[in-house]
Symmetry: C2
Subunit: 247 residues, 2 copies
């Protein structure tokens, strides 16, 4: 076993500890090590969780990007949110009978796998972790509130500006981005499905942002060239993240 592999299995060295995440107490880390069933690697494009199915596991993203989505029978698809380092996936399916949405990998992903059947122990014995789960669910709800406002009320141009700022803030918070850079593992079609517009129209809308000198998208990275003007276009309100827990 290499040193790197060893580190991955020792929760006290969890890479998530580095960022703005809250620290766990020693007994919580001891429990998490039992709660954790292992790690899972998922190639880009693979489906982690499928709408309508039950899942024996829930996951914390250690690295890589994915997205949650939900489809209508006729193929129309809504991207509900993107997932990146530190995000919890599958809590819905652990709490209700089955998943109400699917999760797919955008890049190769590394996931920390937790056993659904031990979820109860969290509530029974670890108040901090129970709180963290509620906190995480409430945070996702906040993001959804924001997206719903966006899709319901903003124009295509505003929506796109909003989404780019949202993703860049989140990526920056977990150390995936610095300055005005945003890694872009998604295609224009993903953004279009997240914003409720067509891919064609997304392309045109992106052009407008480019021509206005607000963004640059090249070689898999977006740069937000003028954050203030972009925020003004988007009517952007940042997520208040403060002290963030994880599982």
């Amino acid at each position: 076993m290499t040193a790197a592999e060893g580190a991955l299995e020792r929760c006290e060295l969890c890479p998530l500890r580095r960022f703005g995440f809250r620290r766990h107490a020693p007994e919580e880390i001891a429990f998490l090590r039992r709660f954790k069933r292992g790690e899972r690697h998922l190639p880009a494009g693979a489906t982690l969780l499928r709408e309508g199915e039950t899942s024996p596991d829930l996951y914390t993203v250690l690295s890589g990007w994915g997205f949650r989505h939900k489809a209508l029978e006729d193929g129309r698809r809504q991207v509900l949110n993107f997932a990146m380092t530190g995000d919890l996936l599958g809590l819905q399916g652990a709490i209700a009978r089955e998943m109400d949405h699917s999760v797919e990998a955008l890049t190769d992903m590394r996931l920390c796998v937790f056993a659904r059947e031990k979820l109860w122990e969290v509530f029974a014995e670890f108040p901090n972790l129970s709180f963290a789960l509620t906190w995480i669910a409430a945070r996702e709800e906040r993001m959804l509130d924001g997206h719903l406002l966006s899709v319901g009320q903003r124009t295509a141009l505003e929506r796109l500006a909003y989404l780019l700022l949202h993703l860049q803030d989140r990526a920056r918070f977990v150390g995936l981005a610095e300055g005005d850079v945003l890694p872009a593992p998604f295609t224009q079609a993903h953004l279009a499905d997240a914003l409720g517009i067509t891919a064609v129209h997304l392309s045109r809308t992106l052009q407008r942002l480019r021509r206005a000198g607000l963004v640059l998208w090249r070689d898999g990275t977006v740069r937000l060239l003028d954050r203030d003007r972009l925020a003004a276009v988007a009517k952007y309100e940042p997520l208040d993240l403060a002290e963030r827990p994880y599982v």
Copy 2:
């Protein structure tokens, strides 16, 4: 004190126990009685919680209807969801620093008030209730997933059919509706803001459903005249509610 008033203060007689809600253990009821700060009446049209403000309380709806909403600076408003008997309001504000949305009463409301500062005791001592909180947050997330799919992908006609079915299912579950009836304490403008269309267009869209013989809206009640055809129009998938907890 009248008998009715007495009953309201005794959590073991909580009116919510009547419906599909999960039963609490005696010690949980004892705690809830301490957790509960009292009851609050709110007249129709009043604002319970305001975006950007902090709230010392969270609330369970005992009776009446409200709605959660979020606005852009220029006045555009998105109705995020409706709230009725049994729904928990203000959890966001209890977990994050401040509310990210507002809550307003559609009818007079009666609310059970809980002290935010005692929320921690729930996690520290009552696993079932902690789980209930996470469950409730996850349920709200499910509803938001559904609404986002609706606003992002469905046409105005589909959205309206979907929302009416959604509300009727929820209302029926908590005993506010029977058969094909749905109490309609909201105006067309509320529905329009929930669906991301204008009130004018909502009126026209509703006409189409009326003329197709699918719905009837008179004297503050909507009747869903042909549930199957309505569900086909909406591509409706019901919420899986199963054993539902409350606080």
